[in-house]
């Protein structure tokens, strides 16, 4: 029994190791191709870069396909990558901060105030979670134009508004589960609701805040359509910059594309390596409560 279990574990580990290759493989392929000359990427995507030129006899000479960091230089230049990177960081960080602080306040009010205003709001936020972006994208873009929200600061308003649904829902789910005693004691001791919220409630909410922050970071960092429609060419974020690299008709610079894809993936891998446990726990919590 014990022996057969061990054999089974070895076989399963081998299968899982093979599957891991399938899961990382595509990223490694892009990494490998990002060091090849742009003409050799589409034609031979599965070949390693060559470091010496080959004499193919009558077919001529096959030049070496390794180009060093040339693709990275041209990719960064063509997409103005660091600008896009800075913009993505700015928008993600500040949207998430605003969402966590403001929607947790709203959720606490909604759950504790228990009046008509609160319940109408609650159902509106739940309703928002169901609506696809396509439903509002046209009018939202026009309104954003009129209100001059078509820049990295203005779009924070839209992310807060559109992210409010899921975030309010998750925070209220948490607030419903905590007893009111401590809050009431704080009010009796002379705290006003604002002090009570930030000194007593907000610290207790920390696990939910982390979940909300992670889910919103994953959404906003990778979001394409909203920043594209609202800010377009003027202020591209990373996904928008990548799409513009493809956008031009005719020949697309595959070398620059591969390099930019890798540059876009690196920050995500670092983020994942740093908060892997919180990310996976957050995703599970979000799925179970959402």
């Amino acid at each position: 029994m014990n022996k057969s279990r061990k054999t089974a574990n070895v076989i399963i580990t081998i299968i899982l190791a093979f599957l891991s290759l399938i899961f990382i493989g595509p990223i490694l392929m892009v990494l490998m191709n990002s060091f090849k000359g742009k003409l050799f990427i589409s034609s031979e995507p599965f070949k390693f870069p060559t470091f010496k030129q080959q004499d193919l006899g009558e077919a001529g000479i096959m030049p070496k396909t390794f180009v060093g960091t040339k693709n990275y230089v041209s990719g960064v230049e063509k997409t103005n990558f660091w600008g896009a990177f800075g913009r993505s960081v700015f928008i993600t960080v500040f949207s998430v901060l605003l969402i966590v602080v403001l929607t947790s306040m709203t959720a606490w009010f909604i759950t504790r105030a228990k009046n008509h205003y609160a319940s109408v709001l609650y159902y509106l936020f739940v309703f928002l979670m169901v609506i696809p972006f396509q439903m509002v994208m046209y009018s939202m873009t026009k309104i954003a134009d009129v209100l001059h929200l078509d820049n990295p600061v203005g779009i924070l308003v839209l992310y807060l508004g559109f992210g409010a649904g899921m975030s309010v829902f998750m925070f209220s789910g948490f607030v419903k589960g905590i007893p009111t005693d401590i809050e009431e004691a704080a009010i009796i001791d002379g705290c006003n609701p604002l002090q009570c919220f930030f000194k007593v409630v907000f610290p207790i909410m920390k696990p939910t805040s982390i979940t909300v922050a992670i889910l919103n970071t994953m959404w906003i960092w990778n979001d394409y359509l909203m920043p594209y429609l609202v800010m377009g060419k003027d202020y591209p974020t990373i996904p928008v910059a990548i799409q513009y690299l493809q956008g031009g008709y005719g020949s697309i610079d595959m070398g620059a594309m591969m390099a930019v894809l890798i540059l876009a993936i690196i920050p995500i891998i670092i983020f994942y390596a740093l908060c892997q446990r919180q990310i996976i726990e957050g995703v599970v919590a979000g799925a179970v409560k959402g």
Binding site: S20, M29, M105, Q134, S139, A164, P239, L261
Partner: protein, 281 residues
């Protein structure tokens, strides 16, 4: 406390509510109105009744074909992703080394955005198809199959972590008792594990359902609907109707309304499914 708190309503709710109104509520109501109008900008809209809806369902519109494709795509993704995710979860909840390492690897694709993933897989799939002198855009079905592969690769890890959490929550006494009674591992799976994690199965089913149904970024980056509009799912088709042809924004908006209604119906079914499970358990 309620009385004191209600006086503070503005501080607690107004910032969120104003942004919510700008980003969602006003655009939603305007959008609903525009679906019954003919317009090139919001200000020159003229009421035309159900004309846009008729156009959306007419024979020369791509809306119904893309909706059909999306339904098929969604069903396949739902089945495959949940199956793979569950099998991986079963393997990774065994007592053996390296499970957390594998879990980390399998979950990783979820963090990468749809646009990036679309181009990553465009390289891989075109590289494979090249051996047969084809590309992803030779046939519409290639693009859809490519998207299914991409979605399985991306979302299997997501479902896997939810299934792992559910499997780890099963009371080990139950499984031990079954083993003592002589149940095979297959019987334990069918009669104990699967019934116990039914709520997780419901959650994952709806999660894959809505995510596949709403899919946009991956579709845009992988094929952008080519050839023609043959590999466009409904979200991309709506986008193209909006911005592709002048004068068709109203039709796009009407299609978006129908899309919204379908998703709302799915959400109501989901609510009932999860509520019923809660009552039972």
């Amino acid at each position: 406390m309620q009385k004191v708190l209600r006086k503070y309503w503005a501080i607690f709710t107004l910032p969120t509510v104003i942004c919510f109104a700008i980003a969602f509520l006003i655009p939603f109501i305007t959008g609903l109105g525009l679906s019954f109008s003919n317009f090139t900008t919001v200000t020159d809209a003229k009421f035309v009744g159900f004309v846009n809806y008729k156009k959306a369902f007419s024979g020369d519109s791509d809306f119904l074909p893309s909706l059909g494709r999306t339904v098929l795509f969604t069903i396949i993704c739902m089945v495959l992703i949940n199956l793979f995710g569950f099998i991986l979860a079963l393997l990774l909840t065994r007592k053996m080394r390296g499970t957390s390492f594998f879990r980390t690897i399998f979950f990783m694709p979820n963090l990468i955005g749809g646009i990036v993933l679309g181009y990553v897989w465009q390289l891989i799939l075109n590289g494979i198809l090249m051996k047969y002198n084809q590309t992803l855009t030779t046939k519409g079905s290639y693009g859809i199959i490519g998207l299914i592969i991409l979605m399985c690769w991306q979302m299997t890890g997501y479902m896997m972590v939810i299934y792992i959490a559910a499997l780890q929550n099963i009371n080990p006494d139950m499984i031990e008792a079954a083993e003592i009674d002589g149940a095979s591992s297959w019987q334990t799976l069918i009669h104990i594990k699967i019934p116990t994690i039914m709520p997780a199965i419901t959650i994952c089913t709806f999660l894959t359902l809505t995510n596949s149904f709403r899919l946009f970024d991956q579709n845009l980056a992988l094929t952008n609907g080519a050839p023609g509009n043959d590999s466009a799912l409904v979200a991309l088709d709506i986008y193209k109707t909006f911005y592709g042809t002048t004068g068709y924004a109203g039709v796009g908006q009407a299609e978006a309304v129908i899309f919204t209604i379908i998703l709302a119906v799915i959400a109501v079914i989901q609510l009932h499914a999860t509520r019923r499970k809660e009552v039972e358990s």
